[in-house]
């Protein structure tokens, strides 16, 4: 009886030590969840979620903020975050669908007064110019966050879609060109 107890205690201690050693030795670093969420976010830095950029929102989400606040990312991003965090998907606030084509800001230069407001608002430094000099947007750097649009005192900033060229053109969805026709079969049992 005592020998059995001793044996079991010894075994328990042995396995406990083994497990403890393994936990230290074969420790796997889980990828930081904030980084993962940040990777999923569209990086437009628009601040529509109420945070000053995508990274702060990723941090907030990791600490329990609602996952449906990224308007540009839309439902796709929300679902991805839900998957990462293992939480229930939350419906997007408005039924507004995210625009498919990328929009970039364009400054109508004849109306620009060189006030620097848009330059200060740009989260990715995609606007060049200086005081009293005409500003312009570097189209390939613009994320289309629209933060520069409301701050312009002369309303000379407009969001425009990127022009379609043979280089960025893709074949259209065949479903839209030749839709699949499902023939109606006459039911044998009326």
């Amino acid at each position: 009886m005592i020998s059995a107890v001793v044996i079991f205690i010894a075994l328990a201690a042995l396995f406990g030590l083994l497990l403890g050693y393994a936990a230290v030795r074969f420790r796997v670093e889980a990828p930081p969840v904030v980084e993962e969420i940040d990777k999923v976010l569209p990086q437009i830095q628009c601040g529509q979620c109420g945070y000053p950029g995508c990274k702060p929102y990723a941090e907030a989400v990791a600490h329990g903020e609602a996952i449906n606040k990224c308007t540009p990312g839309g439902e796709a991003v929300m679902l991805k975050i839900a998957e990462i965090l293992g939480v229930e998907p939350q419906p997007m606030a408005e039924g507004e669908e995210a625009e498919k084509s990328r929009m970039v800001a364009f400054i109508h230069e004849q109306d620009c007064i060189g006030c620097m407001h848009c330059i200060k608002a740009c989260p990715v430094d995609a606007i060049v110019g200086t005081t009293k000099a005409v500003h312009t947007v570097i189209a390939q750097e613009c994320t289309g966050c629209e933060l520069c649009v409301p701050v312009c005192p002369t309303d000379c900033i407009e969001m425009q879609p990127l022009p379609e060229t043979p280089r960025n053109w893709i074949w259209p969805d065949p479903e839209k060109v030749i839709p699949t026709v499902i023939p109606k079969l006459e039911s044998p049992h009326p």
Binding site: I44, V124, W169, I178, V181
Partner: protein, 696 residues
């Protein structure tokens, strides 16, 4: 064995697939005899040539000519952009009519930049743009091919120089693609019949340059005349001509390579990696022209055919010739009011505009009257597409996922190994446009990848932006701290220590003087922005001086403190001087822009004027009907003096305007003085009024 299989294929048609080495394939009706009824059509020079800057895979070429310039045949019109690109040459002599966006022979039908030439029909040749005499090594051959602007002429348009190996001996077998498996097209057939010698000699040149030991030409067995001509030309040169079974897509690079050598090029690898290199026969002919005659690529053999033409033909067409011109030469049966097709019926695409030009990859212009489009029916899971696929993919599975927009799953099924041959669509009994789904899926996946790359880029830029803001904030804080310390020190010790740091002090004073002079000189242009700039400059200098003095005296803190204090004092003085100078400058405008005044004089002048203004203000305040009458009387006097100087222009009531009026050339000294006095009074009265208003 073959004959047995052929006989068996009469009973079981798909037994034909066992005749070749690669899987799948289909047997469309070829209709190649249409365009082989006549010999080659005589070359023509159309009334307009449109040369797109992008006729190849990669970056568009960069134009070297301007509108209105006269160019000669073979002249380089556009140079290759850095990276993967190819130049564009003038096919004939003429004037550059325009460089503008024109519709391209591209499935999108979108316009892009083109050089438009109006030929003068003299066909006057200029200098050859190729500098390499005879290529001897892969590097010189590469250079020559790049200079000649040769791209893959089978239809892919990949710049040929990029396909060549880096070192000699890397490639052991050179393969020539004369399969031409697409229905209707006969341009390579015609080329082999008429220019077999050139092709063989070109192949020998390439093989010698890259050190290939073997040359194999693959020609489908439905071109007996081309086979005979090539065999005759190849005699005694060690070039092997192989007849390959006729099956679509035998002309695919990987398919023909497998058929000729038995080697299957692994997914993701290039032919060069397994010691093979394949060129289209037309590309080899162009390379021969470049090495033998130093000619760039300016024309190509084009098949103009289709059921809608009476006289289908082959023609050596200049690059840039509009499709409509060539189609008109072939005598259309009816008016060509339906879209033409570039390429064959399997892989070709409709061009939206008949005026699109022939480019380096245009092998065929097909005028087939449109057939009714069969509606796509649901997939019945027959598996025919899987049997037909020449790269052993699972078209049906890919279709399901592409249909559901599950791009990651399509990609896992090796979508990017699909050669878009269209065999699956061809055999589909439900008429599902399968290949269109894969093309769309490829585009979407590429777009997603680009978006991801852009997201990463934007994230990095945002981080850089935040880092910049933080840095600026810290710098500002540091400046503020320095300033605060300086002010504190100054308050504590009123008397300035004299000779401890002459350098910092002198610098500050000098800067202030310079500023003052500048202000006095170019006072008329001084604005709020300039003032701010000057203030910022002063602040920066102050900070610098403070920092400098700090750095210099690391040994004793007392000395450092003294220095800092002195610097601060100097800065404060400089600031005061600057302020004074500014005021002076503003008020000394009437003395003329050219007149250089010392800041002190200006300051004295200003002080005087201030005193006068104060006096006037007092007068105005004590006067009986002060507010209203004083400005009025002033205005009257101004009006009296005004016309004499300004030629009747109405006088403004602001002091600035008065000043500007006084700056015009004076007629008499007395009048000017009077006017000045009046203006001064007006200004003072205005100020008084404003003050009273603000007080009340």
């Amino acid at each position: 064995m073959r004959t047995v299989l052929r006989a068996f294929s009469r009973l079981y048609p798909m037994a034909k697939r066992w005749l070749k080495r690669f899987p799948g394939g289909v047997y469309p009706s070829y209709r190649k005899e249409l365009s082989l009824r006549h010999p080659c059509h005589d070359p023509i020079i159309p009334d307009e040539l449109v040369l797109p800057l992008q006729q190849h895979v990669g970056a568009p070429a960069v134009p070297l000519v301007t509108v209105g310039e006269r160019v000669r045949k073979f002249q380089r019109l556009a140079k290759p952009a850095p990276g993967l690109s190819a130049p564009v040459h003038a096919p004939t002599s003429g004037l550059i009519k325009a460089i503008e966006k024109r519709p391209l022979p591209h499935p999108s039908g979108l316009p892009d930049w083109c050089i438009v030439i109006e030929p003068d029909h003299e066909d006057e040749a200029g200098e050859m743009p190729i500098e390499i005499e005879t290529p001897t090594c892969p590097t010189s051959l590469k250079q020559m091919i790049l200079q000649a602007g040769i791209v893959g002429m089978g239809g892919a348009g990949f710049p040929s120089w990029r396909k060549l190996p880096q070192k000699k001996g890397q490639v052991h077998t050179l393969l020539l693609n004369g399969a031409e498996c697409e229905p209707y097209i006969t341009c390579d057939d015609m080329l082999m019949q008429t220019r077999a010698e050139e092709i063989i000699r070109g192949a020998c040149t390439i093989a010698a340059c890259i050190g290939a030991e073997k040359i194999i030409v693959g020609i489908e067995d439905n071109k007996p005349r081309a086979l005979a001509a090539m065999q005759q030309a190849a005699e005694g040169r060690g070039v092997e001509i192989q007849s390959v079974p006729t099956v679509y897509p035998m002309g695919g690079q990987k398919q023909l390579t497998e058929q000729l050598t038995g080697i299957e090029i692994p997914a993701g690898a290039h032919a060069v990696d397994v010691g093979l290199l394949m060129f289209n026969v037309a590309t080899v002919a162009a390379i021969h022209h470049a090495s033998e005659y130093h000619q760039p690529l300016i024309s190509r053999m084009v098949t103009v055919t289709g059921e809608g033409l009476n006289d289908p033909m082959n023609i050596e067409a200049l690059l840039g010739t509009p499709f409509a011109t060539l189609a008109a030469l072939a005598d259309p049966k009816t008016e060509l009011n339906y879209p033409l097709i570039m390429g064959g019926p399997m892989m070709g695409f409709e061009v939206p505009d008949p005026t699109v030009p022939v480019i380096k990859t245009t092998n065929c212009i097909l005028a087939n009257p449109p057939q009714p489009v069969e509606p796509a029916m649901p997939c019945i899971r027959c598996g025919e597409c899987m049997e037909a696929c020449p790269v052993n993919l699972l078209p049906q599975q890919m279709y399901w996922h592409a249909h559901a927009h599950e791009w990651d799953k399509v990609e896992k099924l090796n979508l990017f190994d699909c050669i878009e041959c269209g065999c699956c669509s061809f055999v589909c009994p439900s008429h599902i446009p399968l290949v269109q789904y894969y093309r769309h899926a490829k585009g979407e996946i590429r777009k997603l990848r680009e978006e991801q790359a852009f997201q990463e880029h934007a994230r990095r830029r945002h981080e850089a932006h935040l880092a910049r803001l933080e840095r600026e904030k810290q710098e500002k804080e540091a400046r503020l701290q320095a300033k605060k310390a300086a002010v504190k020190k100054q308050a504590a010790q009123q008397t300035p220590a004299s000779s401890a740091t002459p350098s910092a002090r002198q610098r500050a004073i000098e800067a202030a003087k310079k500023r003052a002079q500048q202000e006095a000189g170019g006072a008329s242009t001084s604005s709020a922005a300039d003032k701010r700039k000057a203030a910022m400059e002063a602040a920066r200098k102050r900070a610098a001086a403070a920092r400098g003095s700090q750095d210099k005296s690391t040994d004793t803190t007392a000395e450092a403190k003294a220095q800092r204090k002195q610097a601060a004092q100097a800065a404060a003085k400089a600031k005061a001087a600057a302020l004074k100078a500014q005021k002076t400058a503003q008020q000394s405008q009437q003395t003329g822009a050219t007149e250089q005044q010392s800041p002190r004089k200006a300051a004295m002048e200003a002080a005087k004027r201030r005193a006068q203004a104060l006096k006037a203000k007092k007068q105005a305040q004590t006067g009986e009907n002060s507010e209203k009458t004083a400005p009025n009387t002033d205005q009257e006097t101004a009006e009296k003096t005004g016309p004499q100087k300004n030629g009747g222009t109405p006088m403004a009531t602001t002091p600035e305007a008065a000043d500007s009026a006084q700056s015009s050339p004076p007629s008499a000294e007395a009048r000017r003085k009077a006017a000045m006095a009046a203006a001064r009074k007006r200004a003072a009265a205005l100020r008084a009024k404003k003050q009273q208003e603000s007080e009340s």
